[in-house]
């Protein structure tokens, strides 16, 4: 079978990523600055939640990035299995810790946001619970990479797990949402409010764009490290035998 992907891809990627990285970093920094300014200074406090609504500007992007990263991982894993390109597996492996961090941030900011409203740090709200379960899926994915020594087997096993997990994310989301509505009448103060006030929308989108930029920058850095680590390992093995 043709696997020309395998040979040219990593070197091609390295040259390309080194050129793109500075630009992406600059754009992300800009977006972050604008986003922070808008969310902290410009956006009006919510008539009900007061200033705590500003936490939404970091909570929603984190939760969104957690799901987005898992989708990227599933896509890369599928590509890795279908076209047998190790670069895709490495992309998924590089993305996992970023996604896991975002889930943790989403949970932490969610607790900080919920506390003033409900007086407890943890609320079994449908979204928070789904993000918590997503965190376990991330842990499982990262654990399988550590557990298997042989690279090719670890890559394929992790890829299968990412795809199986990806099929389950909507099922879990559906069942948790249903479970939540059963046990908790739709609380008026839903985390994203009855409906997001238009003036809050712009900062939110800028922050989401900034977070996505940050994700890309970090992914490129981590991916390059994974590629170099693999090359170093091959060199070490070759020298050991050479």
């Amino acid at each position: 079978m043709v696997n020309w992907h395998r040979l040219a891809n990593p070197k091609l990627f390295l040259t390309w990523s080194r050129r793109v990285l500075p630009w992406a970093a600059v754009i992300t920094a800009l977006l972050l600055a604008v986003g922070l300014y808008l969310s902290l200074f410009v956006a009006p406090p919510d008539y009900q939640q007061g200033d705590t609504v500003r936490i939404m500007f970091v909570h929603v992007p984190s939760a969104w990035m957690a799901l987005f990263t898992y989708t990227v991982m599933a896509g890369a894993s599928a590509a890795g299995l279908i076209w047998k390109s190790p670069l895709s597996h490495l992309t998924a492996k590089a993305a996992a810790p970023i996604g896991a961090s975002f889930t943790l941030l989403a949970l932490a900011t969610g607790a900080l946001w919920g506390q003033p409203m409900w007086g407890t740090w943890w609320v079994w709200d449908a979204r928070l619970t789904s993000v918590l379960i997503l965190f376990f899926l991330y842990l499982g994915y990262m654990a399988i990479w550590q557990a298997i020594d042989d690279y090719t087997r670890a890559a394929k096993s992790a890829a299968i797990l990412a795809l199986v997990g990806f099929v389950n994310v909507p099922i879990i989301k559906f069942s948790v949402d249903w479970w939540n509505t059963l046990h908790q009448p739709a609380s008026v103060l839903r985390l994203d409010g009855p409906s997001i006030h238009p003036t809050l929308l712009t900062p939110l989108f800028v922050m989401i764009a900034a977070f996505t930029g940050y994700f890309i920058v970090l992914l490129l850095i981590r991916l390059e490290r994974e590629i170099l680590a693999r090359q170093a390992q091959t060199l070490r093995r070759a020298q050991a035998r050479g």
């Binding site: 070197k11 406090p45 970091v58 190790p86 003033p116 940050y214 680590a229 060199l235 070490r236 070759a238």
Partner: protein
């Protein structure tokens, strides 16, 4: 000055809004720095290995991931 203090107060929720932003900032920058240092360290080890390999053997084999 007065509006600055009032701004910092976040309508009485300073204890929640600021920690949220600070926490996100800390985690994201820590992750960035940690990954960047990892990458630099990996580049050095690769150069080291390449040198030893260069001096060790004549035929440098192209390696890929």
């Amino acid at each position: 000055m007065e509006s600055a203090v009032q701004f910092l107060d976040m309508g009485g929720y300073a204890l929640f809004v600021w920690p949220a932003f600070i926490m996100v900032a800390i985690v994201m920058t820590a992750l960035l720095i940690w990954s960047w240092r990892d990458l630099r360290r990996e580049r050095q080890t690769l150069e080291l290995l390449a040198e030893r390999r260069g001096s060790g053997e004549t035929a440098g084999t192209g390696n890929d991931a």
